[in-house]
């Protein structure tokens, strides 16, 4: 499966294609972690655009689906580690929602590499950089998102 998508990626993605990844980060942990990465001058790929949400549990699956339908190549969702949610259980809610959404999207033919989920705490600046690097690698391996392109 990965071979086929790599071939497609080679064919479709020109040298110029740069993946565009939208990241939904929870305010208290992940966004703070990303901020720490910035302050610490951690080097990570510039392909993500961050959307700050108060809690990963705020994330409506529509955000993810709308992003894919609007042409974003990949998604990154990040919240607090289990047990550390600022609102106690928002991250558990997010985890269930994302699990079901991801399973269903993959079943309908969306490449799993586009949907990325993690926990990043406020102290994990270095790790945030690694997470983004991995996400960008994943998305690069499947090429640009043309699944929901409208031709008018």
């Amino acid at each position: 499966m990965v071979e086929e998508t790599k071939q497609a990626a080679k064919g479709e993605a020109s040298e110029e294609w740069k993946p565009k990844i939208i990241a939904f980060l929870c305010n208290w942990c992940s966004y703070a972690g990303a901020d720490l990465a910035g302050v610490s001058r951690v080097q990570y790929p510039p392909n993500i655009r961050i959307v700050r949400v108060p809690c990963s549990g705020r994330i409506n699956p529509f955000f993810i689906i709308k992003s894919l339908s609007a042409g974003w190549d990949g998604i990154l969702v990040s919240g607090c580690h289990p047990g550390d949610c600022h609102y106690i259980s928002g991250n558990y809610v997010a985890r269930r929602r994302f699990a079901i959404l991801r399973d269903l999207l993959i079943f309908m033919g969306v490449q799993p590499e586009r949907l990325n989920f993690t926990w990043v705490s406020a102290a994990e600046g270095e790790r945030f950089g690694k997470v983004v690097k991995k996400t960008v690698e994943n998305v690069k391996s499947v090429g640009p998102n043309k699944m929901f392109e409208k031709d008018w």
């Binding site: 042409g71 409208k150 008018w152």
Partner: protein, 346 residues
């Protein structure tokens, strides 16, 4: 008006002559269903079909109809209007569906309210129909001023006869086309007589529903009748009957945008059976419940259409009976209307 014969194997030639001037839309079998699509040759068509699910109104009144689109380039905006319409032939249409174009035309051409999209397309369209040798049990075209070989609303009508089609034009446009086809044979008088007898036999095999023309008078006194509650009980309130009805024409207009700044305005099918159909900007909705919507469907076709256009707003194709998910039968509604006690009041 001309009467000729064409053998089945000459239909391909007929189509290729037409193709020089027209785009051809015909009945194509896709995954078991018949759809009206553009065809490049006669082999793509299946002319021995009963009827399509989606009526051929979709050719002139598409499910998704871009009204105009635009592109933005910095401050510059370029508006792209719809291309001018090609001349089109809808080949193999059934007489009931052809009659529906006449009804739709009345709606889209009402006084000062003229719809250029539909009207321009209709002006450029030639209808070549095929008569029905096997009407379904659910057909009732003969009860609404139609018939299986009704040529009133087509330019040319074909009737299958042994290995040939009897081909007859009923308009000037039809004559012009037939004159171009120099490979047609003359129709023998004896054959014509046999064909006309067969047509009459088929027509009389369709069960008549009495008094549909006068239904509007009964409906005038039935607006508050408890019958509508009964009608609406099992109704799901989906769009199946409206979307598959050849005479239904309601639409919604939505605007769509892409992230790159381009966009379009598009017209899509809508139905009075959806609760949001009548929701007004103020927030008021005159039809909040299913009973009102179920009643509206009957009134529009059998009371308002007769009042506005002097026509019954139904062609008796039977699709609503065949495809209703809860097996609601409009013919039963007709008999209930005729039997309803309140008709004797007032």
């Amino acid at each position: 008006m001309m009467q000729k014969m064409i053998s089945k194997d000459k239909i391909s030639k007929f189509i290729s002559v037409l193709q020089k001037e027209y785009k051809i839309f015909g009945p194509v079998r896709e995954k078991g269903d018949i759809v009206f699509k553009e065809v490049q040759s006669a082999d793509e068509m299946d002319l021995d079909y009963l009827n399509s699910k989606i009526p051929p109104k979709s050719v002139l009144f598409p499910m998704v109809d871009t009204l105009f689109s635009y592109k933005k380039d910095g401050e510059k905006v370029e508006i792209i209007e719809n291309k001018p319409y090609n001349k089109v032939v809808i080949f193999g249409i059934r007489p009931c569906d052809a009659q529906s174009f006449y009804l739709l035309h009345n709606f889209f051409n009402f006084g000062k309210f003229k719809d250029p999209n539909f009207l321009d397309r209709l002006l450029n369209t030639v209808l070549i129909g095929i008569g029905c040798l096997n009407p379904r049990n659910t057909c009732f075209c003969t009860s609404v001023n139609g018939g299986p070989f009704n040529s009133e609303h087509v330019d040319i009508l074909l009737t299958k006869f042994k290995e040939n089609y009897f081909i007859a034009s009923s308009t000037d446009d039809g004559d012009v086309i037939l004159k171009k086809m120099d490979f047609l044979s003359d129709a023998k008088d004896s054959d014509v007589k046999e064909i006309e007898e067969m047509q009459k036999k088929v027509e009389s095999s369709i069960k008549i529903i009495e008094d549909l023309e006068d239904l509007h008078k009964i409906l005038d006194n039935m607006y508050e009748d408890p019958l509508w509650e009964e009608c609406a009980l099992g109704c799901l309130g989906c769009g199946t009957c409206s979307y598959l009805c050849p005479t239904c024409h309601c639409f919604d207009v939505v605007d769509e945008n892409k992230p790159d700044g381009s966009g379009r305005r598009v017209r899509i099918w809508d139905t009075c059976q959806f609760p949001l159909f009548t929701l007004e900007t103020s927030g008021h909705n005159p039809r909040t419940n299913k009973i009102q919507r179920a009643r509206q469907r009957i009134y529009h076709k059998f009371n308002y259409y007769p009042k506005n256009y002097n026509l019954i707003g139904c062609v008796g194709c039977g699709r609503c009976i065949l495809y209703c998910p809860v097996s609601n039968d409009v013919r039963e509604t007709f008999s209930k209307i005729k039997k309803a006690p309140s008709k004797t009041e007032g």
